[in-house]
Subunit: 462 residues, 2 copies
């Protein structure tokens, strides 16, 4: 613009940015893991007004200013539940944005719709949920919202009349996106029962059954039970089969939040055999398939239930075909209308590396978590708080007093040292340091460095 960019000029720009990205990857292991900047400094470097006249290729210098203020997700980034950003898949985003397919309906982009339906079927197969449909989402929050919207329309329809009435059940350890969805959907967080967990942070099925029985006796309608396959704090997997039995007995929809943990089924299928009992299931390829954000997914058993919740096609977007392939429209089965070609990244990444490489990487993450738990258990200055069912390890430094405050200070100190990034959790009422392995870059040496960095930082806090 004002005329279109000549394509040789464009290739020169793409090449410069690819080299910038390569430099980032080359230095990743050496960079401070949490950037050393402050609010005012970042605004001075990256803020300001929009220029009226363009910079042209000098924009690459502006992009270079982003790097030192970004978080470096090397093998020692173990905070939250964040996939490590597999770079082969990342190149597909360049093509996706140039192609600019709007993944609304087959009619609009046969290629993009076919690729997305293909990767959805790959995810379903990986989880033992062959035959499930679904779509990619911005993340687990959107997928959980959509799963509960389907549950509401299935059990307490409110699209037309509004004022939905019924109850949702989830464990005390459920992710914050579930109360957020219950609030948005007009069900109300007062109608979310937080079911007690056992000593391993898994939902207590007896407590779930009691809550359901009480509500039904009082004339209240169960909408959905939300089981978690991988709690964010400790990676606990709720007892899926037993919960599915109870949900079925009370006619409740079963939504499984597997955003963090479901994909462990690729390496440890036995632990997650109950996934296939779900009516809807959230899973994030930007977590345990290491894809760059965003690559969430909602899977569901019955596409008609999705259409009941979401189809509201106007004249404007009628597809004009009844063919199951060519008449397909994602907007009939999801919240979004315009949709990015998110699937190209995952399709490229899986084909580049092969599914076997992902199985191996997930197995390695599980092994790293076991190794860290064992190392912590063997270290007298540290205390293991939870090792969980997956790859989250919660622990703390032992201190004779003020353990919570001191461990919070320790966490800040560890991250400020710049070598290891941990986050925190509350386990059994106490403040925990938390390392979560969903990182294809982590090495055995990185696991040992977690221990060394925590101990070294602990001396400063002590």
């Amino acid at each position: 613009m004002p005329t279109d960019l000549p394509t040789d000029e464009w290739l020169r720009l793409a090449d410069a940015v690819a080299r910038l990205a390569r430099d980032w990857l080359d230095d990743l292991d050496r960079r401070p893991i949490a950037p050393r900047t402050r609010g005012a400094e970042a605004i001075a470097a990256l803020g300001g007004e929009a220029p009226e006249v363009g910079l042209g290729h000098a924009v690459v210098d502006r992009l270079r200013e982003v790097l030192p203020r970004a978080r470096a997700q090397n093998g020692r980034f173990l905070g939250y539940v964040l996939g490590s950003g597999e770079p082969a898949g990342a190149v597909a985003d360049l093509l996706a944005s140039v192609l600019n397919q709007n993944v609304t309906a087959w009619r609009s982009s046969p290629a993009a719709v076919t690729v997305e339906r293909t990767v959805v079927s790959w995810l379903a197969a990986a989880l033992g949920c062959g035959g499930f449909g679904g779509s990619l989402t911005g993340g687990g929050s959107a997928a959980n919202l959509m799963g509960l919207a389907m549950a509401r329309e299935g059990r307490a329809p409110a699209r037309e009349a509004g004022r939905p009435e019924g109850v949702v059940y989830a464990s005390e350890e459920v992710h914050m996106s579930i109360p957020k969805a219950v609030a948005l959907l007009g069900i109300g967080t007062r109608n979310l029962r937080r079911i007690a967990v056992d000593g391993a942070q898994r939902m207590r099925v007896d407590a779930l059954e009691r809550a359901l029985a009480e509500d039904v006796a009082a004339g209240r309608r169960p909408i959905a039970v939300v089981a978690t396959a991988g709690t964010v704090a400790t990676g606990a997997i709720d007892p899926l089969d037993a919960i599915a039995d109870v949900a079925a007995r009370y006619g409740a929809w079963l939504h499984v939040d597997g955003a963090y943990g479901a994909l462990a089924a690729l390496a440890a299928p036995d632990r997650l055999a109950g996934l296939r009992r779900a009516d809807s299931l959230s899973v994030d390829a930007h977590k345990w398939l290491y894809q760059a954000v965003d690559c969430g997914c909602l899977l569901f058993r019955d596409a008609a239930a999705a259409r009941r919740a979401f189809s509201d096609s106007g004249e404007y977007v009628k597809t004009g075909s009844d063919d199951a392939v060519e008449g397909f429209a994602f907007f009939d089965e999801s919240v979004e209308l315009s949709r990015r070609f998110r699937a190209l990244r995952l399709w490229t990444s899986i084909q580049f590396h092969g599914l076997g490489a992902f199985r191996a990487a997930i197995a390695r993450d599980l092994a790293h978590a076991r190794a860290l738990a064992a190392r912590v258990a063997a270290e007298p200055r540290l205390e293991l708080l939870a090792a969980g069912d997956l790859s989250a390890v919660c622990f703390r430094h032992r201190w004779p007093a003020d353990a919570d405050a001191r461990n919070a200070a320790l966490l800040r100190a560890v991250n400020a040292r710049g070598r290891v990034y941990l986050s925190n959790a509350v386990v059994g009422g106490v403040f925990a340091l938390r390392a979560c392995f969903v990182n294809h870059r982590t090495t055995d040496a990185d696991v040992e460095e977690v221990v060394q960095e925590v101990l070294a930082a602990g001396e400063g806090v002590g």
Copy 2:
């Protein structure tokens, strides 16, 4: 994986994909605009099972198979409201996916949060809404959902108790995402009043006022008035100032759906002076700033209202800072938790070209629409149905009988010819061909070709 990809190998892959993208751009104008494939053919080419063993660099050959099955958005793609995919910004997606910043909170990525808050301020300034906050979204559907969620919590709070009660008002021409949002939020589509429009498809303020008065008299609570700044069918702009006055009088939230049209303010600010009256405002940079999908945005006047609707932070994600910059978290003000670094594309694109180039391109789109309307009006075989306030032009071929069916057949024939892509609308009860100019590639010659292609296809239908 199994070990990380060596960076020189990665650069080779990025280079091959960039050349593929360059080839796409080189051929864009010559490609059939709608791909010539069928369901089974596309599945055979792009579907199948996930490979257990990776293809490595041969994945580029797989990516090449995507191209002929994708829609070619050249200068004659005028369907729906879809920005043309500005390629300079597209290169930023390569870097965004390699950096893999999760744009949750400042703490997690100072660079990405600063860049997103910067482009949000650029969008607000471009619309005359300086001081508004907001965040990027997957598109207008998510932004409209969030705007109405804020309205509900502001006027009929239901997060805790559920069962929201109240009424939303929008014109008969409102986008389908509004009833979808009203349904999802538990308000119920029965409580969405569809206000009549005038002969130019703009909401009738007298009818709005009457509907509000009736509801209030009956003891019902107005939640929100939704004004549209650019209806999808004809680009009509509702009378924003007059609607704002009425909404204020009845204590209703004013949400403006400016997904299509708000950014015309960059070239024609007078038509959109009322935007700044909004409490919340949707705007899609992937429409009239030509960005690749996805780059939607919700702007709002009062961040506290956003936090009332969305903040539900668990212990897990507490930011631990009260500083207005460093304590900022997008998840407190939006539906999403994990969030892609969408802002890098827009930040790069605007700095590469300069805002002035976008003003000029939007002015050219407006001129192209006027030119097509004039050309249609002067052509005896065609009938102009609506030229609207923006860049959507609705018209049809004249036929003595069966005009709707014949124009529907004509639309299919035009698109099948592969040179021009139009979509359809219903205007005044009749089937219309619709051309919408949000395309930086369109030339004056392309506008003339629309007429020639419609007339040529019309001979086959006649």
